[in-house]
Amino acid sequence: MQPYIKHTSIAALMDRSNVDTDQIIPKNFMKKVERTGFGINLFHNWRYLADNVTPNPEFELNKPAFQGAKILVAGENFGCGSSREHAPWAIADYGFNTIISTSFADIFFSNCFKNSILPIVVTEEQLAALMAEIAANEGVEFTVDLENQKVTTPGGLSISFEVDAFRKESLLDGLDDIAWTLKHEEQISAYEAAQKKRLPWLWPSA
């Protein structure tokens, strides 16, 4: 996984709540067996007109000022619905590495960390302030500093955020979490041996 490094990037505004994973990547684009190439279909049904090719000029992310954005600022309960990791794959492939909202759905939230995406939870007031700053100055660049857990803006906002210590370390180092877990091979084997005695019917008979 790519390490997450401090950056200053355009922040795009998506003033919608309950953005579900069916919107992030509609199911017609989930048939591929690869992890790559989903960015072109990110928000497909909102992003393109009926011909499925022409960008919809009404859709916020199609604004020229938001092109190249790495930060997405969106309304509450972002990523609800299906567990599809195709959603964060599409978000990362499009170019975002940070999403700021007041809340995220559980599965989507975990999936982000597996794909070098930092989901940042802020308060309602903080979100409103960030959104207002983008609305007043589209194309504005925010700075995200994971190490110091801070989002700063040219408008003078400085927002501290919480992040689980282990997840932070994993993002900063681009850690392979399977490799981390396999360091605990001894404990996993011991658990399995004990479970075979305790609940033998869960295991194939020898």
Binding site: D22, R35, A50, C80, R84, E85, D106, N111, F166, Q187
Partner: protein, 465 residues
């Protein structure tokens, strides 16, 4: 110290809790389908890792399967996904109820049919509706594909402990109301984010009265309330359902297993982080009117207006939903006309669902201009329904009787709404475009869907003649 069922399962499955890092939770059963697994197998291959416990996995092919002419997958990319699943399972000797199996069907229908999930297990699948298996008192939840790979390689998940919420439903459910209506009523109360961070335990005498299949419908939709998982305490209903099934404990193990399962129920006085209560008497048949499963109202109600909501976000969401759904505030729910009716999915694709629908369809005909199709959740469901003659009732009423699959729940297989079409659907999500770009979905119970197919609009089935 008293513990909730969730805490007992967590404690029993905790492999290790390092000082720095993440707790590791042991995964007993891993369910799999073709859409969310190929990249996980590829990841294993690239790292030269192996599947740790093959016996813990059961797979099906369900999302991309056509429900007519099922072997003819015209979409080349979908066909490759199906072939990849088959090849991956063969290569790793994984038990797959694939395209040629007479046990094939929707993963969350097939797994219980074989008794593959037991109380107390930790169960996961790259699918949010894994919550279904909480009906057995198993901690069952959806994961992403990276975690699918992690489970295959390590048999564990890095997990954070969730908070607990008790959802208590007491009283007698009105005639014609079902587990689906309970689920929708709960989500209407909590909102789609109300359960975020929680595992919900459904309790109360209304819940204990439910059949296993009804409990599955209820737990299936826990994710729609944002909950990590739903749980129902195992009891005699659970044990009777499991006994004798293929993967259920046998012989002396059975008694030991039942003893263990009984010990899992939440202790008397165990504390939940949150409690919500509903009266069953208040739960009339429900219909969703918007583009989120929390936008739900009784069939006797009217479409709300944005001004009915004091919360600004909910008010905006209402306005945007009315626009997408092409509905007017104040319109009677029973005046909403539909074009397509779908009965099926991991929510409502079991035998009891088809029985309930057939009961209303006997001797009736589908309204002019309405397309209605029934998609059994699995081949065993289909075979059983045909044994009972239910297929004939559907067909004589003008319904199509199809082969199993996820079908129009998420419309990956070609069964979909056209732009602007409106459905009555027994599935679980009414998100924009879920059943086809521009399609409009109303979530209902199987009986409500059946009645709508005949009337051409929603009807209060309590008045059905």
């Amino acid at each position: 110290m008293t513990r909730t069922m969730y805490e007992k399962i967590w404690d029993a499955n905790l492999v290790h809790e390092p000082e720095a890092g993440s707790p590791l939770l042991f995964v007993d059963r891993h369910l799999m389908h073709e859409v969310t697994s190929p990249q996980a197998f590829e990841g294993l291959r690239l790292q030269n890792r192996k599947v740790r416990n093959v016996h813990s996995i059961l797979g099906t092919i369900d999302h991309c399967v056509p429900t007519k002419d099922r072997f003819n997958i015209v979409d080349a990319i979908a066909k490759k996904q199906v072939e990849t699943m088959t090849a991956n399972c063969e290569e790793n000797e994984i038990n797959l109820y694939g395209m040629n199996s007479n046990q094939n069907g929707v993963i969350h229908i097939v797994v219980p049919e074989h008794g593959f999930v037991h109380p107390g297990m930790v169960v996961c699948c790259g699918d949010s509706h894994t919550a279904t298996h909480g009906a057995f008192g198993a901690l069952a939840f959806g994961i992403g594909t990276s975690e699918v790979e992690h489970v295959m390689a390590t048999q564990t998940l890095q997990q954070k402990k969730a908070k607990t919420m008790q959802v208590k439903v007491e009283g007698k459910l009105p005639a014609c109301s079902t587990a689906k209506d309970i689920a929708l009523a709960i989500i209407a109360k909590t909102g789609t984010a109300g359960g975020t961070g929680y595992v919900m335990e459904f309790a109360g005498n209304t819940i204990t009265e439910l059949s296993m299949e009804a409990r599955m419908t209820l737990c299936n939709m826990a994710i729609e309330a944002g909950a990590r998982a739903g749980l129902v305490a195992p009891d005699q209903v659970t044990f009777d359902y499991l006994e004798g099934k293929e993967f259920a404990p046998k012989g002396d193990d059975w008694a030991a297993a039942v003893e263990y399962w009984k010990s899992l129920v939440s202790d008397e006085g165990a504390e939940f982080d949150a409690v919500i209560e509903l009266k069953a008497e208040d739960i009339a048949p429900q219909v969703s009117w918007g583009t989120s499963p929390e936008q739900v109202i009784s069939v006797t109600g009217v479409v709300p207006s944005p001004s009915d909501f004091t919360n600004e976000v909910k008010s905006q969401a209402c306005a945007s939903a009315l626009k997408y759904m092409d509905l007017k505030a104040g319109q009677n729910i029973t005046d909403i006309h539909i074009d397509v009716v779908f009965i099926g999915s991991c929510t409502n694709g079991r035998i009891e669902d088809f029985r309930a629908a057939a009961e209303l369809l006997k001797g009736k005909k589908v309204a002019d201009g309405v397309q209605a199709f029934a998609v059994p959740g699995s081949f065993p469901v289909k075979v059983q329904a045909e044994k009972e003659g239910l297929d004939k009732i559907f067909v004589e009423a003008g319904w199509e009787w199809r082969d199993p699959g996820c079908s129009m729940c998420l419309a990956m297989n070609g069964d979909e709404l056209k732009d602007g079409q409106r459905s009555a659907s027994t599935s679980n999500r009414n998100f924009e475009g879920r059943q086809g770009k521009g399609g409009r979905t109303h979530l209902v119970s199987p009986a409500m869907a059946a009645a709508a197919s005949v009337a051409g609009h929603f009807v209060d089935i309590r008045d059905w003649k």
